[in-house]
Symmetry: C2
Subunit: 312 residues, 2 copies
């Protein structure tokens, strides 16, 4: 028997087929084409799954970047999938493929993947943030995904780091997402360059990307290091609040920006050590994610394996 894990993002659909031990057998990806509307997106999702499907497949796990009801499998106005409104993707796919389908939020499944087989393996309480253009969160406790009372899950990107900080997309001020995302990183460097700070990044003003800043940091650029230190500090402040509030044993930092490794993680760890309670700070592991951009696909597959009662 096998399962298929799918991660439906705003730009890409990623998917893979797994055996019941959780080994990835074959993966694929395709554009979501979200601008072309709901029917096109659904047809793209179906095509991707069909490319991996066989009679052996017993269940599908689906990750979507959306508020959702994980029991019913209903999406509520996924912000990156215009036109979906309220949509039962579980029923849709169960009808189409005739197997059990389990649906959850992509950040939750990213965390779940890291818990089952990544950096958070075996944690009692795993706290995970995905740091990219935005910041997502996932919380795994006793092997269960935290969903909250209304299916909003663990929106760690919207804890307040600085009550008077910059305005966030959500309307609040000083959210973690507004102060530690890759968007913030780039904006910080752009602003410092405008202020006249010397840096090998100066010629790249206007076309900066996190990767270029990371490479400059590797080459010893002071401004690039400063920018990662600021982002790492802000991330550390936010994570410290969450750590004191929830007492996890493992914290996983994932998402695109986590590819910077220790350049990001070192200031994060320093801030966490300074701000967390004595009873916790010496007993906590802070790690970068290891499953890469297929983390949520892994998590979706593991959830599918779980619902059909298979081993991992």
């Amino acid at each position: 028997m096998k399962v298929v894990g799918v991660d439906v993002g705003g730009t890409q659909i990623k998917a893979a087929v797994f055996d019941l031990n959780g080994n990835m057998l074959k993966s694929t990806r395709a554009p979501t084409e979200s601008r072309l509307g709901k029917e096109r997106v659904l047809s793209n999702i179906v095509s991707v799954i069909e490319g991996l499907f066989s009679e052996d497949v017993a269940a599908l796990g689906v990750a979507v970047a959306s508020p959702l009801d994980p029991v019913e499998g209903i999406l509520y106005y996924p912000p990156n999938l215009p036109g979906f409104g309220v949509f039962n993707i579980k029923s849709f796919l169960e009808e189409r493929f005739g197997v059990s389908v389990v649906v959850d939020n992509d950040a939750n499944l990213y965390a779940y993947g890291e818990w089952v087989r990544g950096a958070g393996r075996g944690a009692q309480v795993l706290l995970c943030v995905t740091v990219g253009t935005g910041i997502g969160g996932g919380l795994i406790h006793g092997g269960n995904i935290w969903h909250g009372a209304h299916g909003m899950g663990a929106e760690f990107g919207h804890i307040t780091v600085d009550p008077d900080g910059p305005v966030c997309n959500c309307g609040n001020r000083g959210c973690l997402e507004a102060m530690a995302s890759s968007y913030f990183l780039v904006g910080y460097v752009e602003r410092r360059l405008r202020e006249g700070v010397a840096s090998r990044l100066a010629p790249l003003r206007g076309v900066l990307e996190p990767k270029l800043i990371y490479e400059a940091a590797l080459e010893g650029d002071t401004l690039a290091h400063e920018a990662f230190a600021v982002v790492g500090k802000n991330l550390g402040v936010g994570l410290s609040s969450l750590i004191n509030a929830l007492d996890p044993d493992v914290v996983v930092v994932g998402g695109g920006l986590s590819k910077a490794g220790m350049i990001l993680l070192e200031p994060v760890k320093k801030e966490i050590y300074a701000r967390t309670l004595k009873g916790i700070r010496d007993r906590i592991r802070v790690e970068t994610a290891v499953l890469g951009e297929f983390s949520a696909v892994y998590g979706a597959a593991y959830l599918a394996i779980k619902i059909i009662g298979g081993d991992r």
Copy 2:
């Protein structure tokens, strides 16, 4: 059958006997005498329980202000009970009384009491803060108490409200506890009076208490209102982070300062509405605790009822 709930605080031991429907039948209290050392405190706890004990009593629930292992019933260096070090209070009381004993942190049991029979009744996810000299936290999810990975529970008092704020007892800066406790409230008024702000509280400089500030607010004193507004705002910033991170359906504000009712709660609610996610803010209830200073005794008793499998 009956159970006894006990709350061992730094200054007082409170206890009561309950029927299995959770009705309090008789309550009592006695000084903890923590300065007189461990043996004296234990003897005081035993005396209090003996005063309520009978052959009918099938279990004891005990709340202690301490880091602890709730499964084994071991206290780890309770800060307000000098000399206890690492102590198995569960074994001690089981041996002494010959009934099952269940032990948990006082803030956890305060929250649990409010969940079973207080302002948070029936919540899927209940987030509770107790605002007094310090700020405690409790998180109830699906009827279970959140303990974290190391038994530290939900230390909501130590989430960061302002990264550059005043130093907290824990060593961190700008913790909720350092910016929204009754200690902060009094300090705020004292400071404003020193600055020469007019207030009917001026003659009380040096002997101010939260109750006096509350009474002045009731009488329309501008400074007293300002102080509650600042505390309420800070509390609202901290609670907003927790709400976005955990998606509760009910938030209970308890502890001594919650007696101020709407004078405290109004600025809290205003801040929460401004800072929480759209998907949550219209669906959340924010309430003051209703069980009063015996909340943790109720919670301890309900936990005792739960472990013997009784109805509530």
